[in-house]
Structures are given as C-alpha cells and as structure tokens.
Amino acid sequence: MGNVLRVVHYLNQFFGQIGGEDKAGTKPLKRDGAIGPGALFQGIFGQEADIVGTVICGDNYFNEQAEAAKKAVLAMIEGYRPNLLLAGPAFNAGRYGIACGAICEAVVDRLRIPAVTGMFPENAGVELYRKSVYIVETKASSAGMRDAAPRMAALAMKLVRGEALGSPEEEGYLPRGIRRNVFNLERGATRAVDMLLQKMKGNAFVTEYPMPSFDRVDPVSAIENLDEVTLALITSGGIVPKGNPDHVESSSASKYGKYDIRGVERLSPDSYETAHGGYDPTYANEDPHRVLPLDVVRDLEREGSIGELYPYYYATVGNGTSVAKAKGFAEEIAKDLVRDGVKAVIISST
C-alpha cells in the first residue's frame, strides 16, 4: 500500500444499505471496503487513498444509545488504523447529522486524525458540531451527493496532508467561529466606509463580521386578568444569594440560578448581591431591588394587582453571555414556568 492513505467511512443504515426506517435501530457494524456513496468517494480518491472500511450504525440506535454507540463505532474505526474519517454526508437528515458530527468530533479528539462530514446548513447536527467539526455544506437531499463528495474529498485531503486551509467560503465548509489574523491592504476604516458606500448605493457587499441571527416571536395577546395571574421575576443583572452558591460567572455566563423566595419579603443586602461583572456593582449590592424589584412586586401581590408571585426567581449574568447560551437558559426556564402555570414574567436587565 505504501503511501496510500487509509480512509474509514461512517454511514447510517440507509446509505450503508442495511435498510430504511425499519432498520434505524441497527447496532454498529463494520464492512471492509467502500459501500454505497463510498464508491463515489473511492473514485475521487483514485490511487491516493483507499477506503479500507465502512462503519454503519442505525440513526435511532446512535441517538438513543449515544454513549454506547459512539464507543462501539469509535473502536471499529480505530481497528482499521485509518489516516482519515469521512462521515455521511447527512444532507438534512437530523439524526444522521448528529451522529456524523458526534463521530467526527470523537475521532478528531481521540484518534487524532482529521474527519470531514457534510450537511445542509439547517441540519440539527450543524448547530451542535460546527465549532468542532469540518462540515462541508451540502444540499438538503441526497440529490446533492455528486456535488458534495468532491468538495468533502478535497477538504479531507488538504487536512490529512496538513495543508493550510483557506476561509470557510473558499473551502466550502460551514464557518467554525474561528478568527484568524490576516493582513489586508486596506485599513479597517477604509473598508468600512467602502462597505457603507456600497450599501447606500444599494449594491451588494460582504460583511466581515456577520451578526448572529435573532429569532422573532409574534407578540402574545394582552393579559386581561393580571389579578388572577402568577407572575415570575427573571433578571440578567446577576442578583444571587450572597456568596453566589451556583457560581454564576461574572461574564460569559454558562449557567443561571433558580432561587427560592417563598416568604422573602425583601432582598436584604446582607443576603443578596450581584454576581455581574462589567458594571459598577456598588448600587446593586447596596440595594438589590435596584436590579430585581421584589419589594414592590410583593406589595402589588398583597394589594391584589397580581395574583401571586412565583415562588422562585431566576438570575443569570448578561455580560458577554452568548445569544445561544441565553436562548438555552430561556428554553429551560420557560419549561419550568409553563409547567407551573406562570402566565406573566418581568425580566430586568442592567
């Protein structure tokens, strides 16, 4: 074999020719040589690389028994002593995409060899693994196989040879959120003004820093009977019990706290403080109500303006915390609130 690279290909039950949805519970298995789309990849590699084995796992099995499946698949891949792993492409198949992402991540991490997969940008596996895995952008369905395979193969060969990669646009993979310093002939101010002029003329321009995409929800209808409603308090201003028991970070928070306020009428500065960095905490620490208005909400509860105050409040720190993290917190908190029949929320932010 000499210098011929050894490649293993990961496929699901469908592309691995085991069967359709009825075989989605298939446990990991391996077959020597290329199978299904592997033949296409082998044709592209020619004499340079050899698909020595194909590892197949059912999409349901992989997603339901994630740890066991990953371990078994990894052991099978390792058994072929590969130089490179290809996974999929998974197109817009969510379970398959998640499996491909997880396997690629594990292979790079444990076996220290490059791995490449392919997915449609809206595949759930992209959101989960784009930062750790090279994911070549594909069309939504397997009709995009012939278009995806050469690009996956080319990127994989570059990685395995240790060649310098260009930008995600140049190489055809989904951006991994990595910033690299490059020298530009024009200074930033010039480039910004050029962009602005293009924008004002209505011409196309390419931003150097795309904004994250924010989702939108339609406003819910007004609440008529606030006096019968349970209201909850949430803050991104970092008000936590003194000592910050959950260790909510002062910036780039990775968590939020949920704190019992049954019977708590006031937030005493002896018992509560802010964990928030980035703003002067003096005022919030002197009187935490300046961030979390528990005192007046208790008054309004007593007076009957609201039905009752939910027995917990939630707090995180909004300082440099990513939109994706915040969205995750919100999803978990909303689950609690919906389950407990909370109909109204006041969120306070510094």
Binding site: F214, P219, L226, Y283, A284, R290, V291, V345, I346, S349
Partner: protein, 67 residues
C-alpha cells in the same frame, strides 16, 4: 407573556423583546441612588406598574413603553 425592563433598549429590540420598558441606568435599572429610599421605591413601583400596564396592552409589533 414577558415584559423586558432594561437599560439598553436597542439591545432589547435587537434580541426581539416585544414589550419593552426603558429603565433608569445600567448599574441601577430599577432605582436611583441620588434619591431617598422612599423616592426610589416610588420610582421602582412606577416602572413595575408600567410593565404590568404593558402586559395589559395589545401590541402588534415590538413596542417601547416610554414616558
């Protein structure tokens, strides 16, 4: 239903809040250390009441409840 009482309204708009009540200042959105404790509480109550009012108000699009 949520109302966002916040110091930096443009951020609230960007992330998509539909009912927004502008607050006092970043380090003390619901208070003002220049006032007496009592005045501060009155101020805070007015902001929370404005938030409750926003909940009772029908909105079609993002709305900032000023003034």
């Amino acid at each position: 239903m949520a109302v966002h009482i916040c110091s930096i309204v443009p951020i609230s708009k960007t992330v998509g809040a539909n009912r927004i009540v502008p607050a006092v200042a970043i380090p003390h959105p619901l208070g003002d250390p220049a006032k007496t404790t009592e005045e501060e509480k009155t101020l805070r109550r007015a902001l929370v009441e404005k938030a409750l009012g926003a909940m009772k108000t029908k909105v079609e699009d993002q709305r900032v409840f000023e003034g």
